[in-house]
């Protein structure tokens, strides 16, 4: 029997992907889609590599994702979840996704047939060594293990200030306080700053259990969890819809105080609803109620506690435009560490200056006297003469006309930039044309309505 079931949540339709008109898992970083990096993380550990891989995705992006994944040599199972809140407007989509994590899990719950589950969202970027985490999960018989990351300071060196391209959207960082016991690596509480007034409360009974704790503010959750099925059962039965924001802090609190987790299970009505859902939704396999009975008695596992591991290498979540740019900047070195394949641009072309930290995709066509620095260029891009491209990300099939200056911008696929334009800190969405001699600074050029969004990336491969 396999140890883990890996559930990769690849459905994200968040701010970033609407901006860039691409499903998030397929956003190219260093000319490889984000999901590739996450699959690499899974493959890096034998226990996970050999386990069942469930990829959760939305109906919209199912096709493109399937197309891409079929090119890779992996076995996977795609599960399409219904989007419960399709009717609501786009602006609330981010909130919806967060709301839905547990709901989505519920839909695929009966597919889980292992004791342990590895849950993670498809936005991790970087090289992660999962061995300590998995070892800790096994050794301590933990209920849940989570990967925490240090808040990264940007790698941009020197004068280049980090300006967020595109329209100014405030990303309200939500500082969280992780109370951890460093001797045992256990997490004793997670608290959102927003939930607190002026004081950070410390319960005496938790203190008594963990006499020496450190409250860290410099950590972020990587959204990678190893969790016991018994705990997930509770989560599924609870009334919460968000795993990370609602269920997890409560579960940790219950575990730290040594109380039973069963109080988190909501009323029987909810349970019934759950059962109905499974029967209608899915399959013949097992009735959820029977599954639950099996685990109800198994309280010891629930008491296993919550542990964490801090990843020392530079890893971060691609959550917003800034982190997306940052990921791209590091792409050249990161990919090297995964595959030993140097993807940086090596060809020396006449009269073209391309700095060695650039990545240029196949089928490029670069005009003379063009300077390119710290930039990722996708496939089949065409850049005419006398361009200056610094610190940019160009997706596939971008056409940059003569004498254009690009700086700290993202150009999505099939966009065309008219000659002698100057574009600073901007995002050009796919299929958009920028006329010649335009000057843009901090703008997002997007189609009039989102309806026209069709995910057409990678179709050139066909």
């Amino acid at each position: 029997m396999k140890e883990f079931t890996v559930i990769l949540y690849a459905g994200g339709n968040n701010r970033l992907s609407t901006d860039l008109s691409l499903p998030k898992p397929l956003l190219p970083v260093g000319n490889r889609p984000l999901i590739w990096y996450n699959l690499q993380i899974i493959q890096s550990h034998p226990a996970l590599a050999s386990s069942v891989l469930l990829i959760l995705t939305s109906s919209q992006s199912r096709q493109v994702l399937d197309d891409y994944l079929s090119t890779l040599n992996i076995t996977y199972e795609l599960i399409v979840y219904r989007q419960h809140h399709e009717s609501t407007s786009d602006d609330q989509q981010q909130a919806q996704d967060e709301l839905g994590t547990l709901d989505i899990l519920r839909s695929c719950y009966s597919r889980i047939r292992t004791e342990s589950i590895c849950l993670f969202t498809c936005d991790l970027y970087g090289k992660v060594n999962l061995t300590p985490l998995i070892n800790m999960f096994r050794v301590r018989d933990a209920s849940i293990c989570m990967l925490l990351l240090k808040t990264t300071t940007s790698s941009t060196t020197g004068k280049e200030s980090l300006v967020q391209p595109g329209q100014k959207v405030k990303y309200t960082a939500e500082p969280e306080f992780y109370t951890v016991d460093q001797s045992t690596n256990s997490v004793t509480s997670i608290r959102l700053k927003a939930d607190l007034d002026e004081y950070f409360p410390l319960k005496q009974n938790i203190l008594a259990k963990y006499p020496r704790t450190i409250i860290r503010t410099d950590l972020v959750d990587a959204h990678l969890y190893l969790i016991k099925k018994s705990c997930l059962d509770i989560a599924i039965c609870s009334k919460y819809s968000s795993f990370r924001k609602e269920f997890l802090p409560k579960m940790i609190r219950q575990m730290a105080t040594g109380q039973s987790l069963e109080v988190l299970i909501s009323t029987t009505a909810n349970k019934k609803m759950m059962i109905r859902q499974t029967t209608t939704d899915l399959d013949d396999h097992t009735d959820l109620s029977r599954l639950l009975e099996q685990y109800d008695c198994d309280n010891k596992q629930i008491r296993g506690g919550c542990y964490y591991s801090i990843n020392e290498t530079q890893v971060f979540r691609v959550k917003n435009v800034l982190s997306y740019l940052e990921a791209n900047r590091q792409a050249s070195s990161q990919i090297l560490s995964f595959t030993n394949e140097d993807i940086t641009f090596k060809d020396r072309l006449e009269q073209i200056q391309i700095s060695p930290d650039c990545v240029v995709g196949d089928g490029h066509e670069i005009g003379k006297r063009t300077t390119i620095k710290r930039t990722i260029i996708g496939k089949n891009c065409r850049i005419e003469d006398k361009c200056k491209i610094i610190n940019c990300v160009l997706l596939d099939n971008v056409y940059v006309k003569e004498g254009v200056t690009l700086q700290n911008s993202i150009l999505c696929s099939r966009s065309t930039i008219g000659s002698k334009s100057e574009i600073l800190n901007s995002i050009i969405c796919s299929n958009q044309q920028v006329e010649g001699n335009r000057k843009l600074n901090g703008e997002t050029v997007s189609p009039a309505s989102h309806e026209s969004d069709v995910y057409m990336v990678y179709d050139d491969e066909q």
Binding site: F177, L202, A208, P211, I215
Partner: protein, 823 residues
């Protein structure tokens, strides 16, 4: 033995490593037991050697070159021990003794130390061992000086580094943890700076978010670490203790410094040992643990046989008892007078010199048997210490117990987890349960069964004064079914005694207690001794009854002060009395118990009023600041008069303790905001305080009790400077205010003050406190008022006005004479 000079030769040029030991727990329960054993806790034997010896060994090992012992009670014993010990012979200048007989708290002791000027150097850090001063550790402490220096280097405001030892997660089960060590500490994980510190139990602790969000601050919480009662202090610590008379304990100090951090800017750091043996012995439970730990060699390399060898009798000058200046009849002296080689056998069995061990005895493990002790056949010993010259009778079983010297134990006894002091005689078939203490000279009769947690004292032992003036509160002995001896008559007598007591005065009850010389029900017909009833003082009881949730500062101080006494000698938190009452009456006599409880509750209310008055008198004696204003009326006059009382108290203390004038002025200034008085009221209060102080407080010596004499004394020393500071001679308003107030006082107290106005004014004039110009001006105004009938002169006040006139006339004459001279 490593000589301190050699280990720290390079340090010697820079500084001497100093350690201050405060050899008192300031816990009344412990001290009460201690007073019946004739040995202070720090000299209680652990392996035949006193506890203190281990601490000194550690300090010497750490390279400490100067040890200052602060003693409160039992200074004689400690002194004689030190002078007769090896220490004074090998390192004649190592140990200094400071006796602080008057001290009532750690703060008092340190104030006394400051007065002694033993720590002179500005940069001389010192180790402070408080809470009985007996820390057992096998770590070397000299690195603490370096750590503190490093803290000071990084943060020049750092004045203290507190030392802790991490305990395992289940602290409650840790044997080194006793209730009195409860603490919660919030510190920086990287710099170890202390941010918050609390000894009060709370369900919820809070950390301000601002602190968490500060850059470079990572908060770490420590819950119930083992408080080593050890701190590295900068010399400033003593000054702070001196300046803040309300710092009684280390807890007060740390709280105070952290609270005033923004004002004074001083910071406290902490250091957490993660390994090494540490045990601060400050209650009896820890004393027992210390003994067994030593026998189990946790303290390696400090183990009994090596320590003992360092004090070999051949080298000791006191080997010959006759050379000792001390009387041999003092049995306790034998503890440190006779040293014999200790042999160490497997299973941690120590045999000191010549012992008689029967072949059929069963010595299991962790046992120390002292010189000339006899262990008869069939004896079973486990984890126990047997002192010198003891006899253990046949088939007796002793577990986890400490038996001092010259103890005789009969046959078929069973002794568990108890302490048996010098010269105790236990007859046959005695059973002693957990945590009993048999003090010096007690005799336990045949077939007696002593229940848990009893303290038996011999009635003719040093009946300490502290016992006499305290009242027996309860008879906390659950009736055992086994105890056949316990008769009904005893019960009746005890209940009548209690009910009698509940309405009686202190003196009555204490006299009753004295008459009970020996409780034969308890120790048997052929026994000698009675139970030491733990009587908490009235203060403590009322404190436990009072709700403590209001955050009045004064209240807090009270609690802090009594913090130590909230725990018994074993380190258990003392529960409110009510619980005990219920257990007392298990006869099923409901009515009686009801009445009894009613009487108790009535009594407690009586007590609370009683205690308040009692408090006040005691406070005036000892001028404690914490006379909590019980009637917190918003009445302003009340506020002012309270403030005035406060000023008087401050001045009195300043006078008695000969404090620096500037400090008093600072103190007075600090009082101003706390009482919210206007500047005029403040000045008025000062004047009142100055002149009323001699009236209210008979502080002068009995021969010169007249008002004028005392006033003159206080004026000489402090008051005139105070007045000069607040009522400048050049300022008309202030001067007139002074005179007006003086006038008021004189009119109010014609008898002692008004009649002396001549002397007072003359004194003030001579000492340039008031100038004649203002006196004359003021007098003229006054005369005018009298003339215009605005002011009525009562017949009684005539003396005053006459005197006043006399002075003014004299003043005018003198002035004219002066003028003449000038001409």
């Amino acid at each position: 033995m490593v000589k301190p000079t050699s280990i720290n030769a390079d340090h010697l040029a820079e500084e001497r490593l100093t350690c201050v030991l405060v050899l008192d727990t300031f816990n009344i329960y412990t001290n009460e037991i201690v007073s019946h054993t004739s040995l202070p806790l720090c000299l209680w034997p652990v392996d035949g050697r006193p506890l203190l010896d281990y601490t000194i060994h550690t300090l010497v090992r750490s390279g400490v070159q100067e040890i200052i012992l602060l003693t409160r009670s039992h200074s004689y014993e400690i002194h004689s021990y030190i002078t007769n010990s090896e220490w004074s012979r090998i390192y004649p200048k190592l140990i200094k003794l400071v006796s602080c007989k008057e001290a009532r708290s750690l703060g008092d002791c340190l104030k006394d130390l400051e007065q002694e000027h033993l720590i002179n150097d500005k940069n001389q850090d010192f180790l402070l061992l408080y809470g009985n001063g007996t820390l057992l550790t096998n770590a070397k402490l000299n690195n603490l000086f370096t750590i503190h220096k490093e803290n000071v280097r990084k943060d020049k405001n750092c004045i203290m580094t507190l030392v802790y030892r991490q305990l395992d997660s289940n602290y409650i089960e840790h044997p080194s943890y006793t209730d009195d060590q409860y603490s919660y500490i919030m510190r920086d994980a990287n710099t170890h700076r202390l941010y918050d510190y609390s000894k009060e139990y709370s369900d919820l602790y809070e950390i301000p978010l601002d602190l968490l969000e500060k850059p470079n601050v990572t908060i770490e919480t420590l819950y119930c670490p083992l408080d080593c009662h050890l701190a590295v202090c900068s010399p400033d610590v003593l000054h702070i203790f001196k300046d803040n008379f309300d710092f009684f304990t280390m807890h007060d100090f740390v709280k105070g410094v952290l609270r005033d951090e923004e004002v004074a800017g001083q910071t406290i750091y902490s250091y957490l040992y993660e390994k090494g043996y540490f045990l601060p012995v400050h209650n009896l439970r820890l004393y027992m643990k210390a003994t067994f730990d030593i026998l189990r060699r946790w303290l390696h390399p400090l183990v009994p046989e090596t320590i003992g060898a360092k004090h070999s009798p051949t080298s000791s000058i006191v080997a010959n008892p006759s050379s000792s200046p001390l009387k041999l009849s003092d049995s306790y002296l034998s503890i440190y007078n006779q040293w014999y080689r200790i042999t160490y056998d497997r299973h941690n069995i120590y045999k000191q010199g010549d012992i008689q061990l029967d072949r059929l005895s069963n010595i299991q493990q962790d046992v120390f048997i002292g010189y000339k002790s006899q262990i008869l056949s069939g004896v079973c010993l486990r984890s126990s210490l047997i002192g010198q010259n003891c006899t253990i009778g046949k088939n007796t079983k002793i577990e986890n117990s400490i038996i001092w010297n010259h103890v005789q134990i009969g046959e078929n006894c069973l002794i568990k987890n108890s302490i048996i002091c010098d010269n105790v005689l236990i007859r046959n078939n005695v059973q002693i349960d957990q945590q009993c203490i048999l003090c010096k000279n007690v005799i336990i009769g045949t077939n007696v069964h002593l229940n848990e947690r009893m303290t038996i004292i011999a009635s003719n032992s040093v009946a300490s004064a502290s016992v006499v003036d305290e009242i027996e509160i309860d008879d906390d002995t659950p009736m055992p079914s086994k105890n056949v001896k316990r008769s009904n008559s005893k019960q009746r007598s005890s209940s009548t005694r209690l009910s009698e007591k509940s309405f009686s005065e202190k003196s009555v009850s204490s006299s009753t207690e004295e008459t009970v010389t020996s409780n034969s029900d308890l120790v048997g017909a052929d026994g000698l001794g009675r139970e030491l009833i733990f009587t908490s003082t009235y203060d403590d009881q009322t404190k436990t009854f009072e709700p403590t949730d209001d955050d009045d500062d004064d209240e807090d101080d009270d609690n802090d002060k009594n913090e130590l006494n909230a725990f018994d000698a074993w380190g258990y938190r003392i529960k409110p009395i009510e619980n005990k009452d219920i257990s007392h009456d298990d006869d099923g006599d409901e009515i009686k118990s009801k009445q009894y409880r009613q009487s108790m509750s009535k009594r407690t209310t009586d007590q609370s009023t009683d205690s308040q008055t009692g408090d006040e008198t005691s406070e005036t004696d000892d001028d404690n600041k914490d006379s909590s204003p019980d009637d917190n009326s918003s009445d302003e006059e009340n506020e002012i008069s309270e403030f005035q009382q406060e000023v008087i108290r401050t001045l009195e203390r300043a006078y008695l303790q000969k404090l620096n004038i500037e400090n008093i002025i600072v103190e007075l200034n600090m009082l101003k905001p706390t009482y919210a008085v206007s500047p005029t009221e403040f000045d008025q209060s000062i004047v009142h305080a100055v002149f009323l102080l001699p009236l209210e407080r008979k502080i002068a010596n009995p021969e010169k009790t007249t008002y004028w004499n005392t006033l003159k004394l206080t004026l000489d020393q402090i008051s005139q400077f105070i007045i000069k500071n607040y009522m400048k001679i050049t300022n008309e308003g202030e001067q007139v205010l002074l005179l007006n107030e003086l006038d008021l006082i004189c009119l109010k107290y014609i008898q002692p003050i008004g009649e002396r106005i001549l002397n007072i004014l003359n004194y003030l004039y001579e000492n340039d406190v008031v100038s004649e110009q203002w006196i004359l001006l003021w007098y003229r105004n006054k005369q005018e008022k009298i003339k215009t009938n605005q002011l009525e002169v009562k017949p009684g006040e005539k003396v005053y006005y006459d005197k006043l006139q006399q002075f003014v006339e004299w003043l005018q004459n003198a002035e004219s004479e002066d003028d003449d001279d000038e001409d």
